[in-house]
Symmetry: C2
Subunit: 293 residues, 2 copies
């Protein structure tokens, strides 16, 4: 009797049970679909989302892959030693350094005068002294002196830059760049004796095959570029920081760099041409950039 009563309840209220079951089923189904879609929105490994650092959440280069059972510190068996203090400041102190830094200008026209390779090598070595998240040293400096490769780099960049200037960049942006006399023709890419392509490494691979995540690789690499600029100036050489829009993958392929690396900036290095001109622009006064508390 009981069983029968229950049965007749289901049969009688079938028209209510079915829609409720359908709602539950649909909600579950939609949620499964959502989960499957998520990876598409996931930010790729090696990308630093700085907004998350200041807005909430983790930077996107936070380890996203399983590190395996054993958690080996990135710097194994590292001890601590007493810090001896600064032994090598600038000979002219901070004023001497300021004069040197303030003397630096971005140069867009280069002489063909050759550059001693040892200067370039030492500049890169100096750039490598920069700090990095968990001391991962997440940078690769590709230095191109080969004429043919420089020509190929120029072709890749000019093709992309033509599209950038003609279509991708806003009118305001291209207008803002007018006084700097920049356009899609980049003669310095073949004129300068050396091109330095700075790649940031999203991760590296340990000898045991485990991936080693490089935290804050973009900020770290950009900071090392700041040190590189000081080094180039120290060596009496000229340079220019450029960000070839959309050319990263093609240049990475050309230079046969691994997928873990992404182009951050490209700098020509050389001596300024005798007839080189620079825009007559000035820097902000210190009280325009410094706020004291």
């Amino acid at each position: 009797m009981d069983l029968f009563t229950q049965k007749s309840f289901v049969v009688e209220y079938w028209q209510y049970v079915l829609p409720i079951a359908t709602i539950i089923f649909t909600v579950i189904l939609v949620n499964i679909t959502r989960k499957v879609e998520k990876p598409k929105q996931k930010i790729p490994v090696g990308k630093i989302n700085k907004e998350s650092v200041v807005k909430g959440g983790l930077p996107d280069d936070e380890p996203s892959f399983d590190a395996g059972e054993e958690l080996t510190p990135a710097l194994e068996g590292v001890g601590h030693i007493p810090y001896p203090g600064i032994r090598v400041p600038h000979p002219g102190g901070i004023n001497g350094f300021y004069e040197m830094a303030n003397d630096r200008r971005s140069v867009r026209k280069y002489s063909s005068r050759p550059v001693d390779w040892r200067l370039i090598e030492k500049c890169i070595h100096a750039a490598g002294t920069g700090p990095s998240g968990a001391h991962t040293e997440p940078w690769t400096f590709c230095v191109v002196g080969n004429t043919e490769i420089k020509q190929q780099i120029r072709e890749i960049i000019e093709n992309e830059e033509y599209t950038n200037y003609a279509q991708r960049m806003s009118r305001q942006w291209t207008t803002d760049l007018l006084p700097l006399r920049t356009n899609f023709i980049k003669e310095y890419l073949t004129e300068a004796p050396y091109l330095v392509l700075v790649f940031k490494q999203g991760y590296s691979v340990r000898p045991d095959g485990q991936k080693k995540q490089h935290y804050y690789n973009e900020i770290s690499t950009a900071i090392s570029v700041g040190i590189l600029l000081c080094a180039i100036q120290s060596a009496g050489l000229n340079s220019l920081v450029t960000t070839p829009l959309n050319c990263g993958p093609a240049l990475r392929t050309l230079l046969d760099r691994p997928a873990s690396e992404k182009l951050l900036v490209l700098l020509p290095i050389g001596y300024a041409a005798d007839d080189c001109e620079i825009p007559d622009i000035h820097r902000k006064a210190v009280n325009e950039i410094l706020v004291k508390y």
Copy 2:
């Protein structure tokens, strides 16, 4: 008759019509919910999406607001002048600079020995000589010497860092940091005589009220931090680059900085404590970071 037939159809197949209608309704509802959620994922103005630079598309700090009818170059009426060449290299050349850069170490324990304000000011001035997209100089250096404000900064950061270390950071990340002896206690934030909070500016406002977009503001500001580190070393001072995870908005509010600015890094500056220790770590050889073409 027709009408009646239709009616009886609806009545008869009500049990099928209801679930189908429910499915459609639920799908629509879930999609509306999804759309409402989307703005959270939208990238805010002023953020540089470096991936887009190397992966395709424009960086996100490409002007996203209407610049008005008149396109005024960011640098109005700028002429060009002959470039006189480098007048102030490093007195010791690139080798001298390398020795100085390589002598720099991250310091986590500071002496209470006071620091001459003029040194700090000149360091910031030097950092301001960095290159920037379209010469926008998109940086603000907030220097905190006030004891109470330093204490407030420490409280904000330690509260967040406790959560970071306990919950947000992966086990691999906190393990990687073990040899550096870092944890959520940040004594240097009150020990060091000065804290420098470096903000990147997404945009500025022209005298006429128009917004002026700051292209590549994050790369530019990070490069200026590299120059700042060289300046601090030049001055015989010690420092440490930190990225206080998730503390940006609270620190921006504390220092009363505008919404156009976002915290990039925080550096304590001072003299190392007498008993300061540093991890016994070494830098990569130049052939590990340089690839020649």
